[in-house]
Symmetry: C2
């Protein structure tokens, strides 16, 4: 049996070391990645993926920690994929979350993985999708996908998660701001965390108003909940609504729809991955020439598209 066989067999029984190693293989584009992903994909089960999103400082990490505790108490194995848009310059992730999640570090029923961005050509969404394939294959009962950020990234959460929880805090801008971030049509559960702060009621009412305007095409009316995550308050209710939404999805055919959207996402990301890899290879090989072309564009002697076309002619998409 090859080493990859062993790793995958170990991952299938949620061995943390095997999961960690496969995560690194996927994340760092190491040898065996393609083969691993191919096999993990075929093993995929019926992952239940809950996305938790919202602005920085809303208390998402604390909420995730609470949900882990609640899930574990109910006998579920839980995986967390934390998508941290850390600096592309420092390359390092801040340890805040991990510190907060330390209480779960020794629990074999919990696996936590932090995902850093990998620069412009990489793609957070691709890595997240591939790690999800791993966690799905490992058969976790509940996968929590924590993303910091608003805007484009939430679209990715929507592509990857069945249930999306949007967490906000009192006093954080008005209703228009929430709409601006485009969360209205994405989230299935709204949560006002730090509900012991002043203006909590206003925040709840604002969200309720916004929800009342949302389309609800599939018949799900998003609830607006409150919590004080630092004291664990509200977690039970959130878990109940997560379960209720999951039942709703099963009844309405939403799970099949999600599975298809995930498949579409994984194929388009795979396409981009091959293109990006080939480009990176090409540019590395022709580094000096590429650099001169960039300088020419900077001096306005040539335009970006002409340079792009010249390099694309040399692209070999059978590699990468």
């Amino acid at each position: 049996m090859s080493r990859l066989d062993d790793l995958i067999a170990d991952a299938a029984r949620r061995d943390p070391r095997a999961l960690g190693r496969l995560s690194r293989i996927i994340d760092d584009d190491l040898e065996g990645k393609e083969e691993a992903l191919r096999r993990l994909h075929s093993m995929g089960g019926d992952a239940r993926v809950v996305g938790i999103t919202g602005p920085p400082g809303a208390g998402k990490s604390t909420l995730v920690s609470n949900l882990i505790r609640e899930g574990r108490a109910g006998g579920l194995s839980v995986a967390v994929l934390a998508v941290d848009p850390t600096s592309p310059f420092s390359g390092g992730a801040v340890l805040g979350d991990r510190v907060r999640m330390q209480e779960h570090a020794t629990d074999p029923g919990v696996f936590i993985r932090s995902l850093a961005t990998r620069g412009h050509m990489g793609g957070l969404s691709r890595s997240a999708q591939q790690l999800l394939t791993l966690l799905d294959a490992a058969g976790f009962d509940l996968i929590l996908l924590e993303t910091v950020g608003v805007g484009q990234e939430e679209v990715q959460v929507k592509d990857l998660a069945q249930t999306v929880i949007f967490v906000t805090v009192p006093g954080l801008g008005d209703g228009i701001q929430a709409m601006k971030a485009g969360v209205l049509e994405i989230a299935h559960i709204y949560l006002v965390n730090k509900a012991d702060l002043p203006m909590a009621e206003t925040a709840v009412k604002d969200l309720q108003t916004l929800v009342s305007f949302s389309p609800n095409e599939d018949g799900w009316k998003p609830p607006v909940l409150t919590s004080v995550a630092t004291r664990g308050e509200g977690t039970g209710r959130i878990m109940e609504e997560m379960d209720r939404h999951f039942s709703h999805l099963k009844a309405s055919g939403g799970i099949a729809e999600w599975r298809r959207s995930l498949a579409l996402n994984s194929v388009t990301e795979a396409i981009r991955g091959v293109v990006d890899g080939s480009l990176q290879h090409l540019m590395t090989a022709g580094r000096k020439e590429f650099s001169e072309d960039i300088d020419r564009v900077g001096r306005r002697e040539e335009d970006p598209l002409s340079v792009a076309r010249r390099w694309l002619e040399r692209l070999d998409l059978s590699r990468g």
Copy 2:
């Protein structure tokens, strides 16, 4: 003289109708886009681009409005590119910003353009970069790039703007959250808006502490400012620091570096643009077949990468 000639000539003297039409040509991928971008690129002058970023609700739009007023009072022509990550589902942008900026609507020295996301395969960063080429060619004295969001998008702001202002509000999470968002190494000016709220001083001190840890490789020490944008307080000081940073960039060679980074960005985005366009064309032409492939991936009968490779073999990069 062709219609495109006319449009470009009119845009060069900042005619709002020509700018609007060229923006639409660029944004909606209309005929003439390639040729227009080619010519606009060659006209590019010495745009001064200031990025304004921060979480939703921090008051960025109000600040932008104040900066327009201040810039106009100083005789500058001002363009605003507002990057709104509005919902990919509704497709429409919320009018909040435009309402807020109405006072500038009739001023011919001001041009405001809102940029909506264009879904997964589109790319906000590409559109923003191309519209910047237009505004640069038009010769605006000051271009303000407002982006909602944290994380990946700020990396794009960093690629496009010479000076980045990070706006936050009191009480929005702790220092670790700011670091998480990776803004520390990106912003050149920090602003605590809504400084009349409680905890404003704490926010300032937190940021000052973080700034003191930042590398400052080019010798610029980011100031931490305060404002109450709704009352216009603090705008003069922000403008001063913007000017000071611009002088610093000119003295330190930072402008040349920025120009090169912008050129690199425009070429890689052009490459992605051609690839995305070709893919979209291919998938539209083979819509039924592609849809069947996706279903097969969803049923786990085939893996994403194998499907991706099959479609890539058929990719024609000379179009798109």
